[in-house]
């Protein structure tokens, strides 16, 4: 609970909050971290396999194989999201599938699916970035400042 709210809470409220939190199951942090570590690694292994496929079978350079690899992972995630499986996997894997590109693809695909009943323009079009939009906006802002820092610290490199 944020500090500002804690200040407003009366002693009775604070007493109850302590009473209640003593009776709530905590998030299984160690288990979640371990599963996320393995699952995230597994996503990377799949990505590596796809990348190797493009390099060795299709004759792409290592650098050129990057984009089609991401596209395959995105397509796979969208398919799993549409089939209604991804959310069940994600409840188990947590950050393992949320942090890689799979999480981003799922955020977009699920929002698009959900708003289809509200029409293509104001439904899908407007709501597709409902969750992913935050990542894009703050990703760009962060990139801008990192870029600025880079220019100041190591100009011309």
């Amino acid at each position: 609970m944020p500090k500002a709210q804690l200040k407003r809470a009366t002693p009775v409220m604070q007493a109850y909050q302590a009473f209640a939190s003593a009776r709530e199951p905590a998030r299984p942090m160690a288990r979640n971290l371990a599963i996320a570590f393995v699952a995230g690694g597994l996503v990377c292994v799949i990505g590596q396999a796809v990348s190797d496929f493009f390099v060795h079978v299709c004759g792409f350079s290592r650098k050129d194989a990057g984009n089609p690899t991401v596209a395959v992972l995105i397509a796979l995630t969208c398919l799993l999201t549409g089939l209604g499986v991804f959310d069940k996997i994600a409840q188990f894997t947590g950050a393992g599938t949320a942090i890689p590109v799979t999480g981003f693809a799922n955020a977009m695909a699920s929002a698009a699916l959900e708003s289809k009943t509200e029409g293509w323009v104001l439904g899908v079009g407007a709501n597709m970035f409902k969750l992913a939009g935050a990542v894009i906006v703050w990703g760009v802002v962060a990139a801008f400042f990192i870029g600025l820092l880079h220019t100041l610290v190591a100009p011309g490199r």
Binding site: A9, Q17, F19, R23, T81, Q91, G94, S110, E114
Partner: protein
């Protein structure tokens, strides 16, 4: 008749003529599956949107209750309904189909008993002949409205609850003196209680104090012994909230026997792992009270039941603006009339 501070005594003992509960695929997997009148295998219910599916559930619950009561739609004086959608669209749209005089209510997950209390009051004061109290929730529609898109993969904490997909309805009628149906004897309208909790993935803990407040008020207003009821059923506190309430009851010396207390959110899904802390939503307390509990009442297994439906009165916006969760609980007592006579209860 007003009794005590915040309760109604229904001295004419309106009867619960019929009840109906319609569920979805997840409810069919739970231990109470047999107590539903109809269970849908398809979560979409052959509709185009989640919202339409929710409306269908409510439609079907109302139609089924009318059918089981053996009356016609026109005989119903008032429909009192509510749900969790913005502007309670599911209820209003179902009311359009049913074409009945309609009162829309919102009490979040406490809507079931709010509706039953109002319906009973209307019948008790002869302001209605037949009153239909109904409510509904649909897992996907509610998830979409309150949380994330249904297919979004966010990991929920173990305190999170699973919104029940169910519509349920009850028809309240004047007492015909035949003693064939359970009667509604008392209701206690709850106060809004906010203990400063703000996590929408832990609503059981937020709602437990509201349930306690209403329980204390109920037993105080009617001056009843704590072991008066065969069963006290709370709305949708789930495993976390009901555990907290059990301990709160002990702490506040409300000595309801532990084996006579149960929670609808725990009962409806049993040990299904997907539901985490248990069921929630308008349909949770409604379908358990109108399905499971009614069946046990009518089988004679239970004689006196108090249902305390709990509701978290938050909105997706209030949560994002870091507001805490105001909670409420309404209690309604259902009994067999002879159970009252035998013990010289407070009703005539």
């Amino acid at each position: 008749m007003l009794q005590g501070h915040q309760s109604w005594l229904f001295e004419h003992q309106p009867i619960i003529l019929s009840t109906a509960a319609i569920g979805g695929p997840m409810e069919a997997k739970g231990p109470l599956a047999d107590d539903f009148d109809l269970l849908h295998a398809d979560i979409r219910m052959e509709q185009k949107s989640w919202e339409q599916a929710e409306r269908t559930l409510l439609d079907e619950a109302c139609q089924k209750a009318i059918e089981k009561a053996g009356i016609t739609k026109d005989a119903v004086s008032f429909l009192i309904a509510g749900d969790l959608m913005n502007q309670i669209i599911s209820s209003s749209f179902a009311a359009r189909t049913l074409a009945m005089p309609y009162l829309g209510i919102f009490g979040a997950c406490s809507t079931s008993m709010e509706g039953l209390a109002i319906a009973s009051l209307l019948v008790n004061t002869r302001s209605a002949r037949y009153a239909l109290a109904a409510t509904v929730s649909h897992n996907a529609a509610v998830e979409k409205h309150y949380r994330y898109p249904t297919e979004y993969g966010a990991q929920k904490p173990p305190t999170a609850q699973w919104t029940v997909t169910a519509g349920a309805a009850a028809i309240v009628a004047p007492n015909d003196g035949k003693g064939e149906h359970p009667v509604v004897t008392r209701a206690t309208i709850g106060r809004v209680v906010d203990m400063g909790l703000s996590d929408p993935f832990n609503m059981g803990a937020a709602m437990a104090p509201a349930a306690l407040d209403t329980l204390i008020s109920h037993f105080r207003d009617f001056d009843l012994p704590y072991d008066y009821y065969d069963l006290v059923l709370t709305g949708d506190l789930g495993r976390v909230g009901s555990r907290i309430l059990r301990d709160l009851l002990v702490e506040h010396r409300v000595d309801i026997p532990q084996d006579r207390y149960q929670d609808a959110g725990v009962l409806i899904y049993g040990d299904l792992p997907e539901v985490l802390a248990g069921g929630s939503g308008c349909g949770c307390s409604a379908s358990v009270a109108y399905g499971h509990i009614q069946r046990r009442l009518r089988d004679g297994e239970l004689r006196r039941v108090l249902v305390v439906a709990t509701g978290a009165l938050l909105s997706p916006i209030s949560y994002q603006q870091k507001e805490t969760i105001p909670c409420i609980a309404h209690a309604v007592a259902m009994e067999w009339p002879e159970a009252l006579h035998r013990t010289g209860g407070d009703a005539p």
